[in-house]
């Protein structure tokens, strides 16, 4: 499942005084099985971009090609695309509506026209991925759950459609650190085990640094930088200019490097840096 975007431009409220250019000539390739981080400031066009990827927004100009199909053409069945490209919106818990968690998660698969047994299997799987105990939660009302559980139930609702590409818009916004870590590690595990393509939208550099392979940085509706995370993090000046910055730990590394302490440029994971530093300090900590 690859996604290819060509010369995509999108204008909100065209022809009114509120007209705004949300995306300007965006070109992008996402390969099958990639874990991509989409990062950018509020209003940089991230959310608009991902909504194009499953046909929720029609571009003003340009093309979006999902698995060889140009989804901007009129005759394309969007339901087919939405089956394959799952999109988890920001604050997805606000879309819960059913009486029970089970029914809510089953909403997507039911719309796909699957039979009862298949739906049941999918709901179980999806709840398993997000670590919601099936027996305990299936009959509960989604509105009784805690914030983090609601979020996970809502994500399960999209996972139950078993998409080949999973797009998550700020899946950890508003969660406590523990809830955040849980959800991120579940997403990571899902990517590693099922080999699906994941696009993670975030403005937390920490999360992105920890999880993704490749980063796409957006600024004012355009793609500012793109490449492997090691490469992107070398542009610290530019990242700061557009209000993003680096993960905290890299500031430490850069400060050390400025003092002439040699630390490998391509080491960016927190644990790897920790052991690098301990090695340099020497002694028994290493």
């Amino acid at each position: 499942m690859s996604i290819s975007i060509k010369n995509l431009t999108y204008i909100y409220d065209q022809g009114s005084p509120f007209e705004t250019m949300a995306l300007e000539d965006v070109n992008l390739e996402i390969e099958k099985g990639e874990f991509v981080g989409l990062i950018g400031h509020t209003g940089s066009g991230k959310s608009t971009l991902i909504q194009h990827m499953n046909g929720l927004i029609k571009p003003t100009m340009g093309q979006i090609i999902v698995n060889g199909f140009n989804i901007t053409e009129d005759k394309v069945k969007l339901s087919e695309i939405r089956k394959k490209v799952g999109l988890v919106f920001q604050y997805p818990e606000y879309q819960l509506f059913e009486e029970t968690v089970y029914k809510d998660i089953a909403f997507g698969p039911t719309n796909l026209g699957l039979d009862k047994e298949e739906i049941d299997i999918r709901v179980r799987n999806a709840m398993d991925i997000v670590s919601l105990d099936f027996e305990e939660y299936k009959e509960k009302s989604p509105f009784e759950l805690s914030g983090g559980q609601k979020r996970r139930a809502a994500i399960a609702g999209v996972l139950a459609m078993e998409p080949e590409v999973l797009i998550l818009d700020e899946p950890t916004a508003g969660l406590d650190p523990r809830g955040r870590d849980e959800i991120l590690s579940q997403i990571k595990r899902l990517h590693d085990e099922k080999k699906i393509t994941v696009i993670l939208v975030s403005h937390s550099m920490e999360d992105i640094a920890k999880l993704v392979d490749r980063i796409i940085v957006m600024h004012n509706g355009k793609i500012e930088l793109t490449g492997p995370k090691e490469e992107v993090f070398k542009h610290s000046k530019r990242l700061e200019e557009i209000g993003l910055g680096l993960p905290q730990i890299l500031y430490l590394v850069n400060a050390l490097r400025a003092k002439g302490i040699p630390i490998d440029e391509n080491v960016i994971a927190f644990d790897a840096i920790k052991s690098e530093i301990l090695k340099l300090v020497g002694g028994k900590h290493a």
Binding site: Y12, L56, L87, L112, M161
Partner: protein, 266 residues
């Protein structure tokens, strides 16, 4: 799709009409509506057309924008048109099946449609050129004399302000929930009327919940800032009649005179 709704929307621009006092504009809108109902023949629309066109021109609101405001009421227009054209008795000029089109019906249908169109365009000019805060301020001010007989003018105005304030928010929210459910395979556009009504549940439940949540949060925020109704409240921008309103008054006087003139002499 939901972004197309322009009724009640404010169009920010720097024009003579925008700078008129809100109270004055509200009164003019009332006079305009009354004048529309005084009209009983086609040619009497001439001053109305001129008046509306002039105001649109001066207000700097694009004509296209006003036409867009008519789109949501298209259905009502067509319905009213149909009822008038088929159910008015008179001289039959065309008939098929059980439906007769009469000369009077045709006349009546066009006449009523024009009245509706002018009613909408004329009144939407009020909201297009007056910011919601100014509008409700003006309304509260106009209703003030009725406070003596127990009319809660401030509360009414506050309710209107809040309602107007939340229209775009809720529309945006609707759009978002709709998209989120569409991403889960929901289909809002096909099927018969029962299926469609049922397909609205995944939209309406979250929408209501979020509307109540927002209302709750707003009430809390207002209380936290010690809001307690209209007693002794002052305003950042007080309404003040200016020279512009006098010019406007002359203008509206001319309009009413011309309507009456047309009625008497033509």
């Amino acid at each position: 799709m939901l972004r197309d709704i322009t009724i009640g929307q404010y169009y920010p621009a720097d024009s003579f009409i925008h700078h008129l006092d809100a109270r004055f504009k509200i009164i003019v809108s009332f006079l305009f509506i009354i004048s529309l109902f005084m009209i009983n023949d086609f040619y009497q629309y001439i001053p109305v057309v001129i008046f509306v066109m002039l105001i649109v021109k001066i207000s700097k609101v694009p004509f296209k924008y006003i036409l867009k405001g008519l789109k949501p009421i298209m259905l009502i227009l067509i319905f009213a048109f149909g009822i008038n054209i088929f159910l008015t008795e008179g001289e039959v000029i065309f008939s098929f099946w059980i439906l007769d089109i009469t000369k009077e019906g045709l006349y009546q249908a066009f006449f009523m449609m024009m009245r509706l169109i002018f009613l909408i365009t004329g009144t939407s000019l009020l909201t297009l050129t007056t910011s919601p805060i100014m509008l409700t301020d003006g309304l509260e001010n106009l209703l003030n004399p009725f406070k003596k007989i127990g009319l809660p003018a401030h509360e009414l105005a506050m309710m209107m302000t809040i309602a107007l304030r939340f229209i775009p928010t809720l529309l945006k929210e609707t759009d978002k929930i709709m998209k989120a459910q569409m991403a889960r395979g929901a289909d809002f556009e096909s099927g018969n009327i029962f299926k469609r009504a049922k397909s609205l549940i995944p939209l309406l439940v979250p929408l209501f919940i979020s509307a109540f949540r927002r209302a709750d949060e707003l009430a809390m925020a207002m209380e936290a800032r010690c809001y307690r109704g209209g007693e002794n409240r002052t305003r950042l921008k007080t309404l003040r009649y200016t020279k512009k309103d006098i010019i406007g008054l002359i203008f509206i006087g001319l309009y009413i005179a011309s309507i009456i003139g047309v009625k008497i002499y033509l």
